[in-house]
């Protein structure tokens, strides 16, 4: 391309000389620099001048590449199967004691040796350091004397391997939406889903006795270590579990003393990861208890109409009464009705069609607002009175 400026050297905006190879013929490498036919830079050593960015820094000497003092060098090569070879020839006697090597930074913290071969003794014929450049060669490398400071500069390479002070291999494939780039610890980056193994607390409702230490299980997932378990009352107040022990990854055995109320459960692992139940799953409530003694509620005249008896139970919440058997409210048996709110048992015809004394045995259940239940067995007996007798005149 005749319109493109063809130069072998050029200065950057800071006045640094940049050496790049334009092999002519249109701005692209026209020749493959194979291992047997590398691009060769002639290296010599001489005192640095102010033309070097490291003048008066480190060694007073500097490398001259193809006669240019400490230039920035641009290397090319991308196909890992076909690297381009660049040979830094140190046969010149000025190189004696100044082996040229590649590093991650000016300070030479880490030597870069991948694809780098050395041969001979600098200053002697045939001595060189050669680097094979491909897509894994870092975008920046610093060429320096392994024995002296600040004798060289750096090379550029249009690479996916970045030298940020550490060498990082960029992913070669894209990740999925929301993934992040992670390292394998050896400078290899890849896209990966970032996740934490948080615990969860199952919404399993339980009711326990209030104001006393009660042992029960909290179920969930990913429990580890000895988690901290907190009970968060619906008014926001906190109560810690008395004791917590890990049964397994899905079960915690806890003991807690909770005042009356409903509580969310928060589990915090040793790692700091935590979870809270989405519902108030623990209810501290006193179970209902019967105040009406078990057994006979009385003897009721057959065919009686009216209130038969009243049963009662106590609780710290509203109680509903029901029959678990099918006797009291069975039309073919006691033929009564049970008021679920008041416990009043009524009938319009006690015993229904029965005409003989019968004891009806049935079980009533008191259920509180928290679903706690207590059952009790009662009896009602029908009586059919005498209808006559004998007079002894």
């Amino acid at each position: 391309m005749s319109s493109i400026l063809k130069v072998d050297t050029i200065q950057d905006q800071n006045g640094n000389l940049i050496i790049s190879k334009d092999s002519g013929g249109g701005g692209f490498e026209g020749t493959y620099f194979s291992s047997s036919s590398p691009k060769t830079f002639t290296v010599t050593v001489a005192s640095k001048t102010s033309a070097s960015p490291y003048h008066n820094v480190g060694s007073s000497n500097g490398y001259f590449i193809d006669g240019v003092q400490t230039p920035i060098i641009e290397l090319k090569g991308n196909d890992t199967g076909k690297p381009y070879y660049y040979k830094f020839d140190q046969s010149d006697g000025t190189n004696s004691g100044h082996p040229l090597r590649f590093y991650n930074n000016v300070g030479k913290t880490t030597a870069y040796t991948t694809g780098v071969t050395t041969s001979g003794t600098p200053g002697q014929s045939g001595a060189h350091t050669t680097i094979a450049v491909d897509s894994t060669t870092p975008n920046v490398l610093y060429y320096q004397c392994s024995s002296h400071a600040n004798m060289g500069n750096f090379i550029n390479h249009n690479s996916t391997k970045l030298n940020t002070g550490v060498f990082l291999n960029m992913p070669t494939t894209d990740g999925t939406n929301g993934q992040a780039m992670v390292t394998n610890g050896s400078g290899v980056l890849s896209f990966s889903t970032i996740s934490e193994t948080k615990p969860t607390v199952a919404n399993v409702s339980q009711t326990i006795a209030p104001a006393t230490g009660v042992s029960f299980n909290i179920t969930g997932t990913n429990f580890t270590g000895i988690p901290r378990v907190e009970f968060i009352k619906t008014d926001g107040s906190l109560t810690n579990a008395n004791t917590v022990s890990l049964t397994n990854a899905t079960t915690l055995a806890v003991n807690a003393t909770l005042a009356l109320g409903s509580y969310y459960v928060r589990v915090e692992l040793d790692t700091g990861l935590a979870a809270r139940s989405t519902n108030a799953i623990i209810t501290a409530s006193t179970a209902p208890s019967w105040t009406t003694a078990a057994g006979s509620l009385g003897t009721i005249a057959g065919n009686f109409s009216g209130t038969v008896a009243t049963v009662a139970a106590t609780s710290d919440s509203t109680i509903a009464y029901s029959e678990t058997t099918n006797v009291l409210t069975n039309n073919s048996q006691a033929n009564c009705a049970l008021n679920s709110s008041t416990g009043v048992i009524t009938t319009s015809d006690f015993g229904g069609s029965s005409t003989t004394p019968t004891t009806y045995t049935f079980t009533l259940r008191a259920t509180d607002a928290e679903g706690q239940t207590v059952d009790r067995v009662f009896t009602l007996t029908s009586s059919f009175g005498a209808t006559g007798g004998a007079e002894f005149s």
């Binding site: 009385g298 003897t299 009721i300 009175g385 006559g388 004998a390 007079e391 002894f392 005149s393």
Partner: protein, 449 residues
């Protein structure tokens, strides 16, 4: 002739336990009366067991057999003429506590106060009193030595004898949870044993309803079927109203005096301030029926010793109708307005409907209401000035027998059962004639209708 029933033992059993349970209505008469007992016909001076009234009104258990003579007498007296009482006598000689070997329950409560405490009964003593074919169980009489002590003017219902087991009162009754009353268990779950039985279950039949076949035979008198029972007590004449010279018979449904021309009033054991009640009367010659105030008025005069018939006095608000049809109300003769049925003969029945809801009294004879009155429609009748009434009578020298639903007009041993039961929509009580619509018997059940 005194009424009694009996049956001879059919076994040689000698148990250590026995139970007797029965409901009894009546009162002590001031003389010894046997209620029931076993006695040995050919050795009457050595074997008896039973219960009787003493002359002081207490009730006694007396048991005599070879080597044993036991007496147990209650402190309490039995003078309520209107109440049915439940008696349970449980013998269990196996018990370790001697005082427990005979337990007596009255209306569900064990009697613990005795004027004659229990004599010693050796533990495990066997009962010999129905082990011999000569041993006889009787109800309505009781033998001590060879002397029979008969029962009169009493009623018995649901008599159980248990041979071989001792039950307490709860086997035969229970306390009503609403009223607190001791009530009958008409179907006790008991084992009767060889000599046990269940008699007078709602009637006067001699049949043993236990299934053991231990039927009674009538030894004397007349056993009269009654509707009055432990579950429904019908109003009867009230002997507790002081009425000098009055005689009460047939479970107090019959009253008479023996003083010609000197009437004194009598009221029933139940009164009412509301409701509608019906009764039928047998009136002896010149005797009176009617209604009167439950307190004050004519009854007060009677208790004060004053002679007179019902309706005789103003401001007593009584209605009286004499057997010949003369009718008075509140001091005035209202015969012409209220009675057009003529004489009430011995075969007739005076019918009285007492409407306390409308404060009226209706008179009729043999089911026909007088002077175009009709209690069912509140037509006619005599308006009453008082608030609380009961059926009444005024007697001088003949009987007044009331049927408040008891089902008879018994006179001594003549049962006079109603011959053809009238319609009675309430179902309470038995009457000879139709009970007016809306009316019922004056009884404990009738009051609650």
């Amino acid at each position: 002739m005194a009424t009694s029933v009996g049956r001879n033992s059919g076994s040689t059993a000698t148990p250590t336990k026995a139970t007797f349970s029965y409901w009894l209505k009546g009162q002590d008469s001031g003389s010894q009366q046997g209620i029931w007992g076993w006695h040995r016909g050919n050795d009457a001076s050595n074997y008896w067991l039973g219960i009787y009234y003493s002359s002081n009104g207490s009730m006694y258990f007396n048991w005599k057999q070879s080597g044993l003579s036991v007496t147990l007498g209650t402190t309490q007296k039995f003078r309520d003429p209107a109440a049915w009482g439940h008696h349970v006598l449980a013998i269990d000689t196996t018990l370790g506590t001697a005082a427990d070997r005979v337990k007596w329950y009255i209306n569900g409560e064990r009697v613990t106060s005795f004027e004659d405490s229990l004599d010693t009964i050796s533990q495990n003593t066997t009962i010999l009193n129905w082990s011999n074919a000569q041993d006889k169980m009787e109800i309505g009489t009781w033998y001590q030595n060879s002397s029979a002590h008969n029962l009169s003017n009493h009623s018995i219902s649901h008599f159980h004898m248990i041979d071989g087991l001792a039950y307490d009162a709860s086997a035969f009754g229970s306390t009503d949870s609403t009223t607190g009353e001791w009530t009958i268990n008409t179907g006790p779950s008991v084992t009767y044993g060889n000599e046990g039985g269940f008699w007078f279950k709602d009637d006067a039949a001699l049949t043993d309803r236990s299934g053991a076949g231990n039927n009674f035979t009538l030894d004397g008198g007349t056993l009269i079927a009654i509707e009055d029972c432990p579950s429904n007590i019908f109003a009867c004449w009230n002997p507790l109203i002081s009425n000098t010279g009055a005689n009460f018979k047939n479970s107090n449904y019959r009253v008479y005096r023996t003083s010609a021309g000197n009437y004194r009033r009598m009221g029933c054991t139940i009164g009412a301030t509301s409701g509608k009640y019906y009764a039928e009367y047998f009136l002896g010659t010149d005797q009176w029926g009617g209604v009167l105030l439950t307190s004050g008025g004519d009854l007060k005069r009677t208790e004060a010793g004053s002679n007179g018939y019902m309706g005789e006095y103003a401001n007593d608000y009584s209605v009286g109708i004499r057997q010949d049809g003369v009718t008075y109300y509140n001091g005035a003769n209202v015969s012409s307005a209220q009675w057009n049925q003529g004489t009430i003969s011995s075969s007739d029945r005076l019918c009285i409907a007492l409407d306390m809801d409308n404060k009226k009294c209706f008179l009729g004879k043999n089911g026909t209401w007088s002077s175009s009155s009709n209690p069912a429609t509140n037509t006619g009748g005599i308006s009453l000035g008082g608030d609380s009434y009961t059926f009444g009578a005024a007697t001088s020298n003949a009987d007044v027998i009331i049927n408040t639903g008891n089902g008879n007009f018994a006179n001594g041993n003549t049962a006079n059962l109603i011959s053809s039961e009238g319609a009675n929509a309430s179902g309470i009580g038995k009457f000879e004639y139709d009970v007016p619509a809306g009316f019922t018997a004056l009884s404990t059940k009738g009051l609650n209708e």
